[in-house]
Symmetry: C2
Subunit: 107 residues, 2 copies
Protein backbone atom coordinates (compact mmCIF):
# COMPACT_ATOMS: atom_id res chain seq x y z
CA UNK A 1 0.00 0.00 0.00
CA UNK A 2 1.00 3.58 -0.49
CA UNK A 3 -0.79 6.90 -0.04
CA UNK A 4 -1.85 9.95 -2.01
CA UNK A 5 0.80 11.95 -0.18
CA UNK A 6 3.50 9.99 -2.03
CA UNK A 7 2.43 11.20 -5.49
CA UNK A 8 5.14 13.35 -7.06
CA UNK A 9 3.70 15.78 -9.60
CA UNK A 10 5.91 17.31 -12.29
CA UNK A 11 6.68 21.02 -12.71
CA UNK A 12 3.24 21.48 -14.30
CA UNK A 13 1.51 19.79 -11.36
CA UNK A 14 0.74 16.68 -13.40
CA UNK A 15 1.43 12.95 -13.20
CA UNK A 16 1.25 10.49 -16.14
CA UNK A 17 -1.47 7.85 -15.80
CA UNK A 18 -1.59 4.51 -17.57
CA UNK A 19 -5.07 2.98 -17.96
CA UNK A 20 -5.09 -0.80 -18.31
CA UNK A 21 -8.14 -2.93 -19.08
CA UNK A 22 -8.65 -5.26 -16.17
CA UNK A 23 -10.40 -7.90 -18.31
CA UNK A 24 -8.16 -8.04 -21.39
CA UNK A 25 -4.91 -6.76 -19.85
CA UNK A 26 -4.52 -4.33 -22.74
CA UNK A 27 -2.85 -1.00 -22.11
CA UNK A 28 -5.58 1.38 -23.24
CA UNK A 29 -4.05 4.86 -23.09
CA UNK A 30 -1.78 7.25 -21.29
CA UNK A 31 -3.19 10.53 -20.00
CA UNK A 32 -2.38 13.05 -17.29
CA UNK A 33 -3.89 13.94 -13.92
CA UNK A 34 -3.45 16.84 -11.57
CA UNK A 35 -4.22 16.39 -7.87
CA UNK A 36 -7.87 17.33 -8.40
CA UNK A 37 -8.32 14.75 -11.18
CA UNK A 38 -6.73 12.03 -9.07
CA UNK A 39 -8.95 12.85 -6.11
CA UNK A 40 -12.02 12.88 -8.37
CA UNK A 41 -11.03 9.51 -9.83
CA UNK A 42 -10.66 8.00 -6.36
CA UNK A 43 -13.94 9.51 -5.16
CA UNK A 44 -16.14 8.78 -8.20
CA UNK A 45 -14.34 5.63 -9.49
CA UNK A 46 -14.54 7.06 -13.03
CA UNK A 47 -11.33 7.78 -14.93
CA UNK A 48 -10.93 11.57 -14.73
CA UNK A 49 -7.98 13.39 -16.27
CA UNK A 50 -6.49 16.81 -16.93
CA UNK A 51 -6.59 17.88 -20.56
CA UNK A 52 -3.32 19.66 -21.33
CA UNK A 53 -4.72 21.08 -24.58
CA UNK A 54 -8.07 22.29 -23.21
CA UNK A 55 -6.66 23.04 -19.74
CA UNK A 56 -9.60 21.49 -17.92
CA UNK A 57 -10.66 18.33 -16.14
CA UNK A 58 -12.35 15.71 -18.29
CA UNK A 59 -14.05 12.50 -17.37
CA UNK A 60 -13.31 9.79 -19.91
CA UNK A 61 -16.52 9.04 -21.79
CA UNK A 62 -18.32 12.29 -20.93
CA UNK A 63 -18.91 12.91 -24.63
CA UNK A 64 -18.46 9.40 -26.12
CA UNK A 65 -20.13 7.39 -23.37
CA UNK A 66 -17.08 5.14 -23.24
CA UNK A 67 -16.46 5.51 -19.52
CA UNK A 68 -13.83 3.84 -17.37
CA UNK A 69 -14.96 2.11 -14.18
CA UNK A 70 -11.89 2.24 -11.96
CA UNK A 71 -11.08 -0.96 -10.09
CA UNK A 72 -7.76 0.05 -8.55
CA UNK A 73 -5.28 2.93 -8.50
CA UNK A 74 -1.59 2.20 -7.96
CA UNK A 75 1.46 4.44 -7.69
CA UNK A 76 4.88 3.34 -8.93
CA UNK A 77 8.02 2.85 -6.82
CA UNK A 78 9.21 6.43 -7.17
CA UNK A 79 5.77 8.01 -6.96
CA UNK A 80 5.71 9.66 -10.37
CA UNK A 81 3.43 7.37 -12.40
CA UNK A 82 -0.11 6.15 -11.73
CA UNK A 83 -1.61 2.89 -13.02
CA UNK A 84 -5.38 2.51 -13.24
CA UNK A 85 -7.02 -0.89 -13.59
CA UNK A 86 -10.31 -0.17 -15.33
CA UNK A 87 -13.35 -1.72 -16.86
CA UNK A 88 -13.52 0.13 -20.18
CA UNK A 89 -16.94 0.60 -21.77
CA UNK A 90 -16.57 0.52 -25.58
CA UNK A 91 -13.39 1.52 -27.40
CA UNK A 92 -10.87 3.50 -25.36
CA UNK A 93 -9.49 5.52 -28.25
CA UNK A 94 -11.26 8.54 -29.71
CA UNK A 95 -10.38 7.12 -33.15
CA UNK A 96 -12.67 4.14 -32.45
CA UNK A 97 -9.96 1.51 -31.91
CA UNK A 98 -9.95 -0.64 -28.79
CA UNK A 99 -6.82 1.04 -27.44
CA UNK A 100 -4.79 4.08 -28.41
CA UNK A 101 -1.99 1.71 -29.53
CA UNK A 102 -4.06 -0.66 -31.70
CA UNK A 103 -2.45 -1.16 -35.12
CA UNK A 104 0.25 1.42 -34.45
CA UNK A 105 3.35 -0.69 -34.35
CA UNK A 106 6.68 0.91 -35.30
CA UNK A 107 8.90 -2.13 -35.07
CA UNK B 1 1.47 0.76 -38.79
CA UNK B 2 3.05 4.09 -38.06
CA UNK B 3 6.58 5.48 -38.35
CA UNK B 4 9.33 6.97 -36.21
CA UNK B 5 8.65 10.33 -37.87
CA UNK B 6 5.29 10.48 -36.09
CA UNK B 7 6.81 10.50 -32.59
CA UNK B 8 6.13 13.80 -30.83
CA UNK B 9 8.73 14.54 -28.18
CA UNK B 10 8.01 16.98 -25.35
CA UNK B 11 9.82 20.26 -24.72
CA UNK B 12 12.70 18.28 -23.17
CA UNK B 13 12.96 16.05 -26.24
CA UNK B 14 11.49 13.08 -24.39
CA UNK B 15 8.53 10.72 -24.80
CA UNK B 16 7.03 8.56 -22.03
CA UNK B 17 7.37 4.83 -22.59
CA UNK B 18 5.24 2.09 -21.04
CA UNK B 19 6.87 -1.34 -20.79
CA UNK B 20 4.41 -4.24 -20.68
CA UNK B 21 5.33 -7.88 -20.10
CA UNK B 22 4.26 -9.80 -23.17
CA UNK B 23 3.81 -13.06 -21.24
CA UNK B 24 1.96 -11.90 -18.12
CA UNK B 25 0.36 -8.73 -19.50
CA UNK B 26 1.59 -6.81 -16.45
CA UNK B 27 2.51 -3.16 -16.84
CA UNK B 28 6.12 -3.21 -15.64
CA UNK B 29 7.21 0.43 -15.55
CA UNK B 30 7.10 3.83 -17.15
CA UNK B 31 10.32 5.47 -18.25
CA UNK B 32 11.41 8.08 -20.80
CA UNK B 33 13.21 7.96 -24.15
CA UNK B 34 14.81 10.57 -26.31
CA UNK B 35 15.18 9.95 -30.05
CA UNK B 36 18.55 8.25 -29.55
CA UNK B 37 17.16 5.85 -26.93
CA UNK B 38 14.23 4.95 -29.17
CA UNK B 39 16.51 4.30 -32.12
CA UNK B 40 18.81 2.19 -29.93
CA UNK B 41 15.82 0.20 -28.66
CA UNK B 42 14.64 -0.50 -32.20
CA UNK B 43 18.14 -1.43 -33.37
CA UNK B 44 19.26 -3.59 -30.43
CA UNK B 45 15.83 -4.88 -29.29
CA UNK B 46 16.84 -4.13 -25.69
CA UNK B 47 14.81 -1.61 -23.67
CA UNK B 48 16.98 1.52 -23.64
CA UNK B 49 15.90 4.74 -21.93
CA UNK B 50 16.97 8.25 -21.02
CA UNK B 51 17.67 8.78 -17.34
CA UNK B 52 16.34 12.19 -16.39
CA UNK B 53 18.27 12.17 -13.09
CA UNK B 54 21.62 10.99 -14.47
CA UNK B 55 21.12 12.69 -17.85
CA UNK B 56 22.38 9.71 -19.82
CA UNK B 57 21.14 6.73 -21.81
CA UNK B 58 20.69 3.51 -19.87
CA UNK B 59 19.89 0.04 -21.01
CA UNK B 60 17.51 -1.68 -18.64
CA UNK B 61 19.43 -4.46 -16.87
CA UNK B 62 22.92 -3.12 -17.57
CA UNK B 63 23.69 -3.24 -13.84
CA UNK B 64 21.02 -5.69 -12.56
CA UNK B 65 21.07 -8.15 -15.46
CA UNK B 66 17.28 -7.85 -15.66
CA UNK B 67 17.15 -6.95 -19.35
CA UNK B 68 14.11 -6.36 -21.52
CA UNK B 69 13.90 -8.22 -24.85
CA UNK B 70 11.70 -5.99 -26.99
CA UNK B 71 9.04 -7.78 -29.02
CA UNK B 72 7.23 -4.75 -30.42
CA UNK B 73 7.21 -0.96 -30.25
CA UNK B 74 3.95 0.92 -30.74
CA UNK B 75 3.09 4.61 -30.80
CA UNK B 76 -0.24 5.94 -29.57
CA UNK B 77 -2.89 7.74 -31.63
CA UNK B 78 -1.48 11.22 -31.05
CA UNK B 79 2.16 10.16 -31.24
CA UNK B 80 3.21 11.18 -27.75
CA UNK B 81 3.41 7.84 -25.89
CA UNK B 82 5.31 4.65 -26.72
CA UNK B 83 4.29 1.14 -25.66
CA UNK B 84 6.91 -1.62 -25.55
CA UNK B 85 5.93 -5.29 -25.44
CA UNK B 86 8.87 -6.99 -23.73
CA UNK B 87 10.11 -10.23 -22.35
CA UNK B 88 11.39 -9.14 -18.94
CA UNK B 89 14.25 -11.11 -17.40
CA UNK B 90 13.84 -11.15 -13.61
CA UNK B 91 12.03 -8.44 -11.66
CA UNK B 92 11.46 -5.18 -13.52
CA UNK B 93 11.64 -2.92 -10.47
CA UNK B 94 14.92 -1.85 -8.88
CA UNK B 95 13.26 -2.56 -5.51
CA UNK B 96 13.08 -6.26 -6.45
CA UNK B 97 9.34 -6.48 -7.07
CA UNK B 98 7.98 -7.91 -10.31
CA UNK B 99 6.72 -4.53 -11.49
CA UNK B 100 7.15 -0.95 -10.29
CA UNK B 101 3.46 -1.01 -9.26
CA UNK B 102 3.42 -4.27 -7.29
CA UNK B 103 1.82 -3.80 -3.88
CA UNK B 104 1.46 -0.04 -4.32
CA UNK B 105 -2.28 0.37 -4.45
CA UNK B 106 -3.77 3.69 -3.35
CA UNK B 107 -7.44 2.88 -3.73
Amino acid sequence: MTTLQNVKYNADGLVPVIAQDTETGSVLMLAWMNAEALQATLRTRRGTYWSRSRRQLWTKGESSGNVQHVKSVSLDCDGDTVLLAVHQTGPACHTGTATCFTGREIG
